[in-house]
């Protein structure tokens, strides 16, 4: 029979050199509203649409779907003329690998994975450990109890990366600093990225154990971490975006020391821009401290007042960029 991909075509947007239906953005589990990288990708998508008017559509995965479904989704997007097609999350790697071979004229983007090497694939990866290292430095410098905490969402390698960088950074300030680490749940289904209550209880436990700066990499659960930190008047460090500026966290922003950001939206935007301009990015595009793909956001004026901390962080940043320090990823 006929293949579904050969069915739907047309409706291409013609604007300048760009001919395509717009950005096809396929989310990872969690989808829109995860307050984390799905949302960041979406922000980039929106911004690109605003700037270039290229439009496009976002797609959510179903529960318990297999790689075949992801492949189907990606190929469908390519076939229908979306360009670029972006898979949010390493989980799309096999799908994009397959689709890229079949649709050489489409540009594919994949976030958090660099295992696919093809001309028309841009791997958008981030050195989360570097930003986390800075978070660790800031935390250890700001701590009065010499105890800092890390709360991760789900037990996956990506989160270990955050934890490892943080720990290394904290110990770089003083090897005697105690780093308490907690990962909320074993699997995403149990709500590790989406349970503010879990985040709050974990934070409370760490504060009780003496931690006075808490760093989270727990998506939505992080809201609980930050609110609990604020309640106990200890520092929290946000993640992914500059959480000091997040609406949902206004109440607690005074206690947000800073955020280890990850410029997913910028990358998505850049990729869309490059495609739109007819000069599609390809290969591994690493967001690190050097390229500002990751950074330590310092919007909180109170942070800036702590000059020692700021200095320590700046120095660490310089060391990393200069290659004097390499940060472990696990």
């Amino acid at each position: 029979g006929e293949s579904s991909k050969s069915a739907n075509t047309g409706g291409d947007k013609e604007s300048g050199t760009y001919s395509g239906k717009g950005i096809g953005l396929a989310y990872d589990i969690g989808g829109e509203g995860d307050q984390s990288f799905n949302d960041a990708a979406h922000a980039g998508f929106v911004k690109a649409d605003k700037d270039f008017g290229i439009g496009g559509q976002t797609f959510e995965p179903a529960d318990g779907e297999s790689e075949a479904d992801k492949a189907q989704r990606i190929e469908n997007l390519a076939k229908q003329g979306y360009n670029p097609v972006i898979g949010v999350g390493y989980i799309y790697a096999p799908a994009i690998k397959e689709a890229a071979a079949k649709y050489p004229d489409t540009t594919f983007g994949i976030i958090d994975d660099e295992s696919v090497t093809a001309k028309n694939v841009a791997s958008l990866v981030f050195s989360e450990e570097q930003a986390s290292y800075l978070a660790g430095v800031a935390a250890a410098s700001a701590s009065k109890t010499d105890t800092v905490g890390f709360i991760g969402g789900v037990d996956i390698p990506l989160i270990h990366k955050f934890g490892a960088g943080f720990e290394q950074g904290a110990k770089s300030v003083d090897p005697k600093v105690k780093v308490i680490k907690k990962i909320l749940t074993s699997t995403a289904q149990e709500g590790g990225f989406s349970s503010p209550d879990k985040g709050r209880e974990a934070a409370n436990g760490q504060i009780e154990a003496g931690a006075d700066v808490l760093y989270h990499a727990a998506g939505l659960s992080g809201q609980g971490v930050i609110s609990e930190a604020a309640k106990n008047k200890v520092w929290a460090i946000g993640v992914d975006s500059d959480q000091y500026k997040q609406d949902a966290l206004k109440e607690y922003k005074d206690y947000i020391l800073g955020s280890a950001t990850k410029n997913v939206d910028g990358m998505v935007y850049e990729l869309a821009k490059s495609v739109h301009e007819g000069k599609p990015l390809s290969g591994t595009i690493r967001g690190d401290l050097k390229s500002n793909g990751v950074s330590f956001a310092d919007s909180n004026p109170k942070y800036k007042e702590m000059t020692e901390v700021v200095e320590a962080v700046e120095k660490a940043k310089k060391d990393i960029i200069d290659g004097k320090v390499t940060v472990k990823t696990s």
Partner: protein, 421 residues
């Protein structure tokens, strides 16, 4: 003919020994013993976290939704309807609670959460009571349906609303929390002293009265209330009779269908309230997948508690406690629990020896030794073990006590009016 059999008329049958029931003093004594044991472990290991005020307070918060789900299960099963649809009813509770909560305030949200659960209950009752569908099957269907419904409705209700999305409701105002002035701080200070037993008791009591949500108070009060209603009122008697022997109840003029319906709907209400607790108190937003299997755990807590409100509360508390250990820093605290398990096993061995059951005693002793060695030779347990501990503990306790459990006799059985004979 054969020889005459030896014949003696025997005295009337001795009454069967009644089932072992634990009297209040025994229960209290066991609780006291447990506290002392935990205290010993805490002193030895220095894991003061295991009985800290925060620990207990967290345990209570985590136990509430499980306990509410369990109460839901209790009401339904006492009337003879197995309710594996608790999870679905909770989902409806989270959704409706948040939906009403963000618009009209948290208390309205709680009310709507309860109503949402009740809707699930009505569906379950129609299927199981009116149509006599297998109770488990209906429950499973309800779980699927509720999940789909909540997601579908979210797209309409929450998407496009400020701070809301298809996966998340806008934030709901808090119900607030409160402490008991004076007492809470005093107990907390006492707890900080790390004194033997005293601090543990202070932690336990302090946890019960610190950082309380009003809904927690309501939920806790519902446990004795359930007991009172089910065991001390005519309504409760009828409801329980329907779960024990519906035909007998019918023969005395009890409208079995009516009581089953009421029970299942109330059951849904409890589950819905548990859901509302999750979305309004625990998180202040509705989230997709928020219940994360708590309905099932509630069911397990109820079975664990032998279909009794007190036992159920204990079961929910145990879940809450192990889960809270896990969340609050896990590995070292759970490591300390290895020693506790070893000590408990030693106690068990002593008991078995006293009962002259030497082989089980030996096995228990060996396991105790293994536990101790594990404790002595490590500093931490794998975090995965910590995550699994609530489930392991439940399984273990059930394995040791399942024979003493007794479910309502007609639980899960189909009933049709006029089937009696």
């Amino acid at each position: 003919m054969s020889t005459a059999t030896v014949a003696k008329t025997r005295p009337a049958k001795a009454a069967k020994p009644g089932r072992r029931r634990m009297s209040l003093p025994v229960v209290l004594l066991m609780i006291a013993g447990a506290i002392v044991l935990v205290s010993v472990v805490r002193m030895i290991t220095g894991a003061h976290g295991i009985t800290s005020t925060g620990q207990m307070s967290t345990a209570l918060r985590l136990a509430v939704p499980i306990g509410l789900a369990g109460l839901g299960g209790l009401w339904a099963e006492r009337a003879g309807v197995v309710n594996i649809g608790l999870e679905g009813m909770m989902i409806l509770g989270t959704w409706f609670g948040a939906w009403a909560g963000y618009q009209w305030g948290p208390w309205v949200g709680v009310a709507f959460g309860i109503i949402g659960g009740c809707l699930g209950g009505i569906l379950h009752a129609i299927a199981t009571v009116t149509f006599n569908v297998n109770h488990i099957v209906s429950g499973v269907a309800l779980n699927i349906l509720a999940l789909g419904m909540a997601r579908y409705l979210s797209k309409y209700a929450f998407e496009g609303v400020e701070q809301g999305s298809s996966k998340q409701s806008p934030p709901i105002e808090s119900l607030g929390t409160f402490d008991v002035p004076g007492l809470s701080e005093w107990l907390a200070t006492l707890n900080q002293k790390h004194w033997f037993v005293v601090s543990d008791v202070a932690g336990l009591l302090g946890g019960m009265i610190t950082n309380l949500s009003p809904l927690t108070v309501v939920a806790v009060a519902l446990v004795p209330l359930t007991w009172y209603v089910l065991w001390r009122t005519a309504f409760g008697l009828r409801l329980r009779s329907v779960g024990e022997n519906p035909v007998a109840a019918e023969s005395l003029g009890v409208n079995v269908y009516k009581y089953k319906y009421i029970a299942v709907i109330i059951s849904g209400g409890f589950a819905g309230m548990g859901g509302a607790f999750l979305s309004i108190v625990a998180s202040n937003v509705y989230l997709d997948g928020q219940t994360a299997g708590r309905g099932y755990i509630g069911l397990a807590a109820m079975i664990f508690g032998n279909w009794m409100p007190g036992g159920l509360a204990l079961g929910a508390g145990l879940f809450g406690y192990t889960d809270s250990l896990n969340l609050r820093g896990g590995t070292t605290n759970v490591h300390a629990l290895l020693l506790l398990v070893a000590l408990l096993l030693v106690v068990g061995t002593a008991y078995l020896v006293w009962r002259k059951r030497y082989l089980p005693a030996l096995v228990t002793a060996v396991i105790a030794a293994v536990m101790y060695l594990w404790y002595a030779n490590t500093n931490e347990v794998p975090s995965q073990l910590v995550a699994a501990s609530p489930y392991l503990v439940t399984l273990l306790v059930l394995a040791l006590s399942a024979q003493h459990l007794r479910m309502p006799k007609a639980d899960g059985l189909p009933y049709r009016k006029g089937q009696g004979g």
